[in-house]
């Protein structure tokens, strides 16, 4: 038993390497160089390394957001919209309210949290009152607000000086501190890890964690024994949407300094995968977010350093991800094969 547990991840990674080598061998003119940059690039200097860590920050937030919803048995597929739209509104509010630097940062974070929570609350209310599936409505509402966000950035709040659709820059004093200059790594990393650890503790030691687990595993059981299932679902969705939006705001405050059109590029959806990869264990979310960021920055570096088309590198990224996910799913099924009922 033990052997298989250790051996199979190693085997998975080996197969992933082999397959990607073969594909690059066929398509790239410099397969060896490409592979080297893809897998080792993120560790080749502090700049790349710091950027990789920075890329994992929004994923930690959205991963935690997905995990929060899953923990109570809910699906929040609107993470992308909450992440993106929450950050845009937060930025706009911070720009338009003249206050001191620290308080406008907190104001931005609070506003984004509220907006994200609201976007997640609506689909949940629709489910509880009208019986809509929260899976579909959260996705649809999220998508709608991505375009509303784009509209705001292109129109009313666009910085006329800027070449791209973005708001004005936030004040220099508002943004989050950098940790490893010149890379993008910023203080948000610590915040993200702290939040994940907080939720880990809540799940294990708090009444709320126990209630989440019971509601997830058997809502009927939870209800019969006096838990307020609907309230728990609402709470989970509010926290999920709020944390997703917080991640977007932290990204704006830490990396861009302003809301830029399309800055979230898939962080929300990847958050779901980040959480699933570690079976929704918040203590490990930093690892799976890092893994995602590693593949992402590997792909970026490889296409930057060697003239390999970015699509090919993304293909390799996809293969590695598929294999790792499959491996996790396999090891999941074996556990309860021999139970009594």
């Amino acid at each position: 038993m033990m052997h298989r547990k250790v051996l199979s991840p190693i085997l998975t990674v080996a197969i992933a390497f082999l397959l990607s080598a073969v594909i690059l061998g066929i398509t790239s003119r410099q397969p060896r160089e490409t592979l080297r940059w893809f897998f080792l690039g993120p560790f080749s200097n502090f700049y790349f390394f710091g950027n990789m860590l920075a890329a994992s920050i929004p994923l930690m937030f959205t991963g935690l957001a997905a995990c929060l919803a899953f923990s109570a048995g809910m699906f929040n597929l609107g993470l992308e919209g909450q992440h993106y739209f929450g950050a845009i509104i937060g930025t706009i509010v911070a720009l338009s309210v003249p206050t001191s630097s620290v308080s406008s940062m907190f104001l931005a974070l609070a506003v984004s949290f509220l907006v994200g929570a609201l976007l997640a609350l609506v689909p949940m209310l629709l489910r509880l009152t009208l019986g809509f599936s929260e899976l579909i409505s959260s996705f649809m509402i999220g998508q709608v607000f991505i375009y509303v966000g784009d509209f705001l950035l292109n129109g009313l709040f666009r910085d006329p000086e800027a070449a791209l659709a973005a708001t004005r820059h936030l004040d220099e004093t508002v943004v989050l501190a950098k940790i490893l200059p010149p890379s993008n790594l910023h203080a948000g990393y610590v915040v993200a890890i702290a939040l994940c650890l907080m939720f880990t503790v809540v799940r294990k030691w708090f009444v709320m964690g126990y209630e989440f687990k019971m509601v997830r595993e058997n809502p009927r059981f939870a209800k019969i024994h006096g838990m307020d299932v609907e309230r728990i679902w609402l709470l989970a969705m509010i926290l999920s949407g709020g944390v997703a939006a917080l991640g977007g705001m932290v990204e704006v405050l830490g990396v861009y300094g302003r809301a830029v059109k399309g800055f979230s590029h898939g962080n929300g959806f990847n958050g779901i995968a980040v959480s699933l990869l570690v079976r929704n264990n918040p203590a490990l979310i930093f690892l799976s977010a890092l893994f995602f960021a590693y593949l992402e920055s590997g792909a970026e570096i490889a296409s930057l350093m060697v003239q390999t088309p970015a699509e090919i590198v993304r293909l390799v990224q996809g293969i590695v991800f598929c294999l790792v996910t499959a491996e996790f799913l396999f090891s999941r099924g074996e556990r309860d094969a021999d139970s009594v009922t």
Binding site: F206, N218, I224, S339, V340
Partner: protein, 501 residues
């Protein structure tokens, strides 16, 4: 009509991991064509494990299985099915939203290109369903009774060539008349050469229906004999029980604890409860009896707060609780055991501890400032399970590792440990062996000295054994009240309901 031996088991053994429970220590059994075989034994004797091995759901550690004289090795239920062996579960596995017809062919539809070949399917099902008096094929399963659902499962098995039927407690959720119909069905299958093995806790029933009886005790075959050579006493002794009368304590009847007035409940257009009023005093165990699902179970769901009545009031200790939440009602000292033990009373994904603590976790001193005190909870649960004789190796293990009898004890322990004022239970003794039943009867008698119980059931025997007073329900209406003096034997209840309807 008895034929050749179809299935034979020799010295079959099975140990479960990680709990290390030796479920089977060497079981021998044979099934003949055209015969009914009853499998008896106390809770945890290994009955369910045995039929699951026969059906290919789990694999034995040692021993041999022969089908038609050839050794076989079932890896999956499909392998067993190929040899014509099918298990009908206690918790049926039908898709509620589909029709009877669709359920019958689920997963094995005869096809023409990609479409269901309905004609062909209908042909195949027609003669069978006529023979077995199956209900209309286009009705949705969700509207059917437990007995009808069970019949569908059996027909489903037969359609695909089953000749050995394994039934895990087929009568656990059936009313008396439904039971009769099931037995008629089994008799007709027997005439057609099927071998039937069924698990039951009812000795009289086993001796009446079966041709042969096998008794398991702690994972071993202790008795396997033709029914004609047996009497009830021999079987009871083999199971390891002393036969005993259920205890009955007389206590002073105290204050009125529960008063229900004019409760009406609807489900869609259907009237589930029609202006039901009743009153229960401390020291009374009151049975709510109906032949099928006559509203007695729904009434308990209304009392605990799961269902909202359209009109009527509920008073508990003179306080109106009609609008209180489930949590608030439980806090007042109302306990509830739902009908569906596996889906409603337990969280099968959770550990024993998580299941046992669900009624106390949010109270001081177990929770302070939202923080759980796991050490204290573990101590408390340990004590509780010990007092109710739930056998566990570790309370951190998944609740699934407990045997059926221990699960029932766990549920009762959780609800009874803190001495509820009002104990609401649906079929508290169904699926339990005589010893555990006796034990529950004792607990319910103890309860009388500080509280009262309402027991909803469709089993006359149970109502008779546990209650001092029985209220008879029929189609959502309270028909009649029977007092202790009138409760001379279980059949009184059944015949009375017959008169009323």
């Amino acid at each position: 009509m008895r034929g050749k031996t179809i299935v034979q088991l020799l010295n079959v053994q099975k140990t479960f991991y990680p709990s290390g429970v030796k479920a089977l220590k060497g079981v021998n059994l044979f099934l003949e064509a055209g015969s009914v075989h009853a499998l008896l034994g106390a809770n945890g004797a290994g009955k369910t494990t045995l039929v699951r091995i026969l059906a290919g759901e789990i694999q034995p550690d040692a021993g041999e299985i022969f089908v038609d004289g050839r050794a076989v090795n079932f890896r999956t239920p499909k392998d067993a099915m190929r040899h014509g062996i099918v298990l009908v579960h206690q918790n049926l596995s039908l898709v509620e939203e589909l029709t009877v017809f669709e359920n019958l062919f689920l997963g094995r539809e005869p096809r023409r290109l990609f479409f269901l070949d309905r004609k062909k399917a209908e042909q195949r099902v027609k003669d069978l369903s006529e023979r077995l008096f199956l209900v209309a094929l286009d009705r949705r399963v969700v509207d059917l009774s437990m007995a009808e659902k069970q019949k569908i499962e059996i027909v489903r098995a037969l359609l695909f060539g089953a000749r050995v039927l394994l039934l895990d407690e087929p009568t656990a959720y059936l009313s008396e008349s439904e039971e009769e119909r099931l037995f008629e069905l089994l008799a007709s299958l027997k005439r057609n050469g099927c071998a039937i093995l069924f698990i039951t806790h009812d000795l009289n029933q086993a001796l009446k229906i079966a041709d042969r009886v096998t008794v398991l005790r702690e994972g071993e075959t202790v008795l396997s004999e033709e029914t004609s050579h047996l009497n009830v006493r021999q079987v009871i002794e083999a199971m390891g029980f002393r036969s005993s009368e259920s205890p009955r304590v007389d206590v002073e009847i105290g204050e009125e604890l529960l008063k229900v007035s004019d409760i009406t409940l609807r489900s869609g257009k259907r009237l589930v409860l029609d202006r039901v009023s009743l009153s229960v005093r401390q020291g009374e165990n009151v049975g709510l009896f109906g032949l099928g699902n006559d509203g007695q179970f729904d009434l308990l769901e209304v009392l605990i707060g799961l269902k909202k009545p359209v009109s009527g009031r509920i008073f508990f200790q003179a306080r109106d609780i009609t609008r209180l939440s489930i949590r608030e009602r439980r806090r007042l000292g109302i306990a509830y055991v739902p009908k569906d033990r596996l889906r409603e009373a337990l969280n099968l994904e959770g550990s024993i501890l998580e299941n046992a603590m669900v009624n106390v976790y949010r109270e001081i001193p177990f929770a302070k400032f939202g923080l759980l005190n796991w050490a204290l909870l573990q101590d408390y649960i340990h004590g509780m399970l010990k007092e109710f004789q739930v056998e566990t190796n570790s309370i951190m293990q998944p609740v699934k590792t407990l045997s059926g009898g221990n699960l029932q004890r766990l549920i009762l322990a959780r609800e009874l440990f803190r001495g509820p004022k009002l104990f609401l239970a649906c079929r508290p003794t169904s699926g339990l062996d005589a010893q555990v039943q006796h034990y529950i009867a004792e607990r319910l008698q103890q309860l009388k000295s500080w509280g009262c119980a309402l027991i909803a059931t469709n089993d006359a025997e149970e109502a008779f054994g546990l209650c001092d007073k029985v209220l008879i329900f029929s189609k959502g209406r309270l028909k009649r009240t029977l007092y202790k003096e009138q409760l001379t034997e279980p059949s009184v209840l059944v015949s009375l309901v017959g008169e009323q309807t």
